[in-house]
């Protein structure tokens, strides 16, 4: 009798604590240090979107998309949030990773400059000093834009920059720079200098940007997990689009050391990049074969990739449903 009662108590305990042990523990490695461009991911976690799908997610800061795609391809992280071009390059180098949701549909790399510089078009850079991040693929993206816009390279004084691009602009060491407009560009704005920018994607660089990525191996072994994770991840973005302030406040609560002013400037700009005619028709995260093809063509022309891949392997929309 006593044993049976004990047993039923134990059973009740197990049932009550059920969801805790039933959750799949997964890691998500971001592309960069936590910023408000990641707010919808924190929101999805805090509002329980992942838990509702039976997932316990650990969000880890990143050190650049390059590192993220390697970690995901090598199985050190379950999911990654990284640039689509890096995922494609990794695939071509024998590290099969797949984009299951293209969140930033437009590449945030831009030519950024103080508004006072009077720069309006790429030709206005003639005679100016332009900082180019030679240690990243953004340099190759800029060279490609120069080529398709017939920009005379020799008429721009170009210097190599690494990190701290915003500081270089504020110190007036460069007149303009090639950088993520929502990072370095808005950092300068939040410090009080009005900035302008020309997105490379608006001047002939057809590439997708930050995406949810996962290894081919995980898709083959556990497609259901990938499906649930992608759904929860995208749900965070959809919810954030209609609840911007809530998403931002969630992020700031989770990351109290981040500058709130800069975060608030950045977040709406990031959200704008998630929306295109494609996503209005098919939903956030949706990408098309045509655009992946165009991106591969550009990467091959830039010399970043030396051989092509079957792009149908590098992305999938099937987990968005």
């Amino acid at each position: 009798m006593i044993i049976r009662r004990l047993f039923s108590v134990a059973l009740a305990l197990v049932i009550l604590s059920g969801p805790a042990w039933a959750l799949d523990k997964v890691t998500l490695r971001l592309d960069w240090v936590f910023g408000s461009e990641h707010a919808p991911i924190f929101l999805a976690r805090d509002k329980g979107f992942f838990r509702d799908e039976g997932i316990d997610v650990e969000i880890l800061a990143g050190e650049g998309s390059t590192v993220t795609v390697k970690l995901v391809g090598n199985g050190n992280a379950d999911f990654g949030y990284a640039a689509a071009d890096q995922a494609m390059m990794a695939y071509a180098k024998g590290l099969p990773v797949v984009a299951s949701a293209v969140i930033l549909q437009k590449n945030p790399v831009a030519v950024i400059f103080p508004q006072a510089s009077g720069i309006k078009t790429l030709q206005d850079l003639y005679g100016k000093t332009l900082g180019v991040p030679t240690l990243s693929v953004a340099e190759k993206q800029w060279r490609y834009v120069e080529k398709v816009n017939h920009i005379d390279d020799s008429k721009i004084h170009q210097v190599s920059l690494g990190t701290g691009i915003a500081t270089m602009i504020e110190a007036k060491k460069v007149d303009a720079a090639v950088a993520f407009f929502f990072n370095d560009g808005l950092k300068v704005v939040s410090d009080g200098t009005p900035m302008g920018w020309i997105l490379l994607s608006d001047v002939g660089l057809p590439i997708y940007s930050t995406s949810l990525i996962v290894s081919e191996d995980t898709i083959n072994k556990n497609p259901d997990l990938v499906h649930r994770f992608t759904r929860a991840f995208v749900k965070g973005w959809i919810y954030s689009l209609s609840h911007q302030d809530e998403a931002l406040q969630t992020f700031l609560k989770d990351n109290p050391t981040v500058d709130p002013k800069y975060s608030a400037l950045k977040f709406p700009e990031v959200l704008k990049l998630t929306q295109t005619p494609d996503t209005e028709k098919n939903g956030i995260g949706y990408s098309t074969q045509d655009k992946w093809d165009a991106m591969q063509k550009a990467l091959l022309e830039m010399g970043i990739m030396d051989k092509g891949v079957d792009v149908a392997n590098v992305f999938t929309d099937k987990f968005l449903k």
Partner: protein, 258 residues
């Protein structure tokens, strides 16, 4: 002669064993080349891209030698001050230690603003990192001259200059060269840190760019080339040391303070 031949065989053997183990592990664990390339792939990549690697070795070499020469010159002057003036020694020592402990790498991005874009910031970082061992060892060497010897020279009517160049400096040379050996390798590190921050040439650029473009074999090619550069510079310092100290009977057994 026979002993040194056997030593050389042993030294080459360690390298060979290291690369063989690496090759075998990569092969056995099926590690993808983009994560960790096998030495055979790295060496064949280096053979294929040797002119690219060589072209980018020169800027790094300039930064390393520039930084080292700057560190040696400034370090020597300050060391003389420390060795001959108790006041300078006591006043500057805490500052020097604090400056040494400071992670120079953290300052590197600012050097870009202070010193511009070209070679200068790399030379400055290399010099800063290489500087401290030279100051400390040189001061120690100059300070370790037996006082009786100096008193004897003075009793013979020797001038300050004669005592310095005929007794103190030769006495300190083994210490100074010991610090040069340490500092030349530190200067390599410093120059590459500078190239990591901002550059469009140099081995630091090759390593960093190959990393972002996922060409891990080229990245290791750059690392090996850098390592070879460091070893060659180290051997040059040792060679100069042998020539400069050929009169010195007991080169072995000089205390290295670092």
């Amino acid at each position: 002669m026979k002993r040194s031949a056997a030593r050389l065989v042993g030294q080459v053997g360690v390298f060979t064993a290291f690369f063989l183990c690496w090759e075998a592990l990569v092969d056995a664990l099926h590690i993808k080349p983009v994560i960790l390339p096998a030495p055979s792939l790295i060496f064949s990549t280096m053979a294929k891209h040797w002119s690219y690697l060589l072209d980018n070795t020169w800027p790094t070499l300039f930064a390393v030698t520039g930084g080292f020469v700057l560190a040696a010159g400034l370090g020597f002057v300050i060391a003389v001050g420390i060795a001959y003036s108790r006041w300078i020694s006591e006043m500057t020592y805490p500052f020097l230690v604090a400056a040494q402990v400071l992670p120079k790498v953290a300052l590197a991005p600012l050097f870009l603003i202070w010193f511009g874009f070209g070679l200068t910031p790399k030379v400055v970082i290399a010099a800063l990192i290489a500087f401290f061992p030279i100051v400390i060892n040189t001061a120690r060497g100059l300070g370790s001259v037996e006082p009786e010897l100096i008193q004897y020279m003075h009793s013979l009517g020797a001038s300050w200059r004669e005592v310095f160049f005929k007794i103190s400096l030769p006495w300190a040379l083994p210490y100074i060269f010991a610090s040069f050996r340490i500092s030349i390798t530190l200067a390599v590190v410093g120059a590459v840190v500078g190239e990591f921050i901002s550059s469009d040439n140099g081995l630091g650029y090759v390593i960093n760019y190959a990393n972002t473009s996922l060409d891990t074999d080229v990245m290791f090619g750059g690392i090996f080339a850098l390592s070879a550069l460091g070893v060659i510079l180290f051997l040059i310092v040792v060679l100069i040391e042998r020539m400069a100290l050929s009169w010195h009977v007991a080169i072995e057994g000089i205390p290295e303070t670092m």
